[in-house]
């Protein structure tokens, strides 16, 4: 084999240059900018971070991201797994799968419009309030997206609707990989379906569950579009990424926006390291 030293760099070079230009250098520069003022001119040390951790708006955002993190992740992963296992047992699996997977093709903006109609206050428009007032004629409609007590949960529901199909597709492939012989011999030994699920399926696909969970965690930490379209962060629904957008684009506070991004990155770093380690283990096995 002819070896040309510079050849790999010709093939990989354009990619490496673009990665440096659009991801590596900007990320490092953002760390620097987070220590500077609104116009990136004066040095303010940790002022922006202090701001990020002391304002009410940011605390609302942190709290909401935490609620998202728990509810969205648990429901999409557990729901996706349950649906995958159930669908595995019916003949019309492909059709049902398509329907549940479909929202993955839609933009957050489209999903936002779709669910704004579900949540509409007027029972002649909003399905949810139509059901509510239909079942309980004395009840008042609920302003799902404007009532601070429920608005974040309404947004999370929309997110779950969009992403459960993603979890389902990956977990379904893993479920189908569980060797049938193990299942059959356990059945012969008298195990019921519930035991099969917990004792065989779940342990067998453990690593896939971990992968899907990390993907969901990243999605949740970065969640922006849904909040932007459906409530614009009002009614106690603000999230970290939306606050970053506001600081950058509306308040023109480059320093604060940068500090918020860095906080977001720090939250994601554990997941990043987890991914890199998994990848290296995988490589070692090749």
């Amino acid at each position: 084999m002819r070896r040309v030293r510079y050849l790999p760099w010709l093939y990989a070079g354009p990619t490496l240059l673009l990665l440096i230009l659009f991801l590596v250098y900007p990320s490092l520069d953002t760390v620097r900018l987070s220590l500077l003022g609104p116009n990136s001119e004066t040095f303010v040390a940790l002022e922006n971070y202090k701001y990020a951790f002391t304002t009410n708006e940011m605390w609302t955002a942190f709290r909401n991201n935490a609620v998202w993190l728990i509810l969205f992740t648990v429901v999409t992963v557990a729901g996706g797994l349950i649906i995958a296992v159930l669908l595995d047992r019916v003949k019309y699996e492909p059709v049902a799968k398509s329907l549940i997977f479909l929202p993955q093709a839609i933009s957050f903006v489209g999903a936002g419009v779709i669910w704004k109609f579900v949540y509409d206050y007027n029972p002649n428009v909003g399905l949810l309030n139509a059901i509510l007032t239909g079942l309980f004629p004395n009840a008042d409609p609920v302003g799902w997206l404007v009532n601070s007590n429920v608005a974040t949960y309404a947004l999370i529901t929309t997110g779950i609707w969009m992403w459960t199909g993603f979890a389902m597709v990956i977990l379904s492939a893993a479920v189908k990989d569980v060797p049938q012989e193990i299942m059959e011999s356990a059945r012969i030994d008298g195990a019921n379906e519930w035991q099969l699920f917990w004792r065989i399926t779940v342990p067998y696909i453990g690593s896939t569950i971990a992968v899907v969970t990390t993907t969901m965690i990243i999605n949740v930490l970065k969640v922006f579009d849904l909040v932007y379209v459906m409530t614009a962060g009002r009614y106690q629904t603000n999230v970290i990424a939306n606050q970053m957008y506001k600081e950058l684009y509306i308040n023109r506070q480059n320093g604060r926006a940068s500090a918020i991004s860095v906080i977001l990155l720090v939250a994601i770093i554990p997941v990043m390291l987890f991914n890199i380690r998994r990848f290296q283990e995988q490589e070692a096995m090749r």
Binding site: P26, S27, T30, L99, F101, S107, V113, V211, S261, L265
Partner: protein, 285 residues
């Protein structure tokens, strides 16, 4: 007798599965139905009333679509979305294919570390890059132009594209490439004659992914393009309409469906590749 028993035993399963599927499609169905209803019908009765009187033709209309496409300029936004998405899909895949080939089949110092960095970059929040890249684009005077968004989507799309293609190329048999090189084929020839043709399924998965990701993107377009009608893609326009329509809110369902039409066609016609891409993209165990 046993058969009936088995059927009855599975009855709850069918109920649960069908209920889940129906619940999942109901929200989209509602907006689809409403997009064809007159403002009057939309305001006075829920879309589900169409099951009661589907043949009351006074409720049906195409007016909403006509209005959003012309008066609200969604036809222009549709064109913009296409103009943004096609180059922003082709460019990163082309560039990434060369890099993936090098990472999979060439020896060079730092190969493992560089690729681990690519894996790390997969999850970097794009927010980390906005201020510096925005400043850079401003200095170059390309903020608000398609060039800016093509460049940004190319850069942002590369980690996933390289990751997916490299993993696929790495699974091809080593002998295949080595015998080609022994026969005197250059890296260049082996790339075009072996690597590319064999990766067509992976390239298709990747193309669908990148296409949907760019078409459905709101944030990157908001930051680098802004909201002017001349350049705004569908997502940005529809997001603006949500906040600005007011009394004309009856136009929203039609607007939303125009923004979803192409992704839905892609989804239904190429679901297999889409699923394959999702499976290959998750770091597998």
């Amino acid at each position: 007798m046993n058969k009936i028993k088995k059927l009855l035993g599975r009855f709850p399963l069918h109920i649960v599965v069908i209920t889940i599927a129906l619940v999942w499609m109901t929200p989209s169905l509602g907006v689809l139905v409403n997009s064809f209803r007159t403002p009057q019908a939309m305001k006075t009765s829920g879309w589900w009333m169409m099951f009661v009187n589907p043949f009351d033709f006074t409720q049906w209309t195409l007016e909403n679509y006509a209005t959003v496409l012309t008066a609200q300029d969604l036809a222009i936004s549709f064109r913009n979305s296409l103009l943004i998405t096609i180059p922003a899909t082709v460019l990163p895949i082309l560039i990434a294919a060369f890099a993936a080939y090098a990472f999979a089949w060439m020896e060079f110092p730092g190969r493992q570390i560089l690729f681990s960095i690519v894996v790390g970059l997969l999850v970097v929040p794009l927010q980390m890059t906005f201020v510096p890249v925005y400043t850079l684009f401003n200095r170059l005077g390309i903020t608000g132009t398609f060039i800016a968004i093509w460049a940004a989507h190319t850069g942002y799309g590369l980690p996933f594209a390289v990751y997916l293609l490299r993993n696929f190329l790495g699974t091809l048999p080593k002998d295949l490439f080595e015998s080609a090189w022994l026969d005197g084929a250059s890296y260049w020839t082996a790339f075009w004659r072996l690597a590319v043709p064999l990766s067509v399924p992976s390239l298709a998965s990747l193309a669908i992914f990148q296409f949907l990701w760019v078409w459905n993107d709101l944030l990157v377009a908001l930051i680098y393009l802004g909201g002017t009608r001349r350049v705004a893609p569908l997502t940005v326009r529809v997001a603006n309409l949500v906040n600005s329509l007011g009394a004309d809110w009856h136009l929203l369902p039609a607007a939303a469906f125009i923004s979803m039409a192409l992704p839905l066609v892609v989804f239904f016609s190429m679901q297999r590749y889409f699923v394959r891409g999702i499976l290959a993209g998750s770091v597998k165990g």
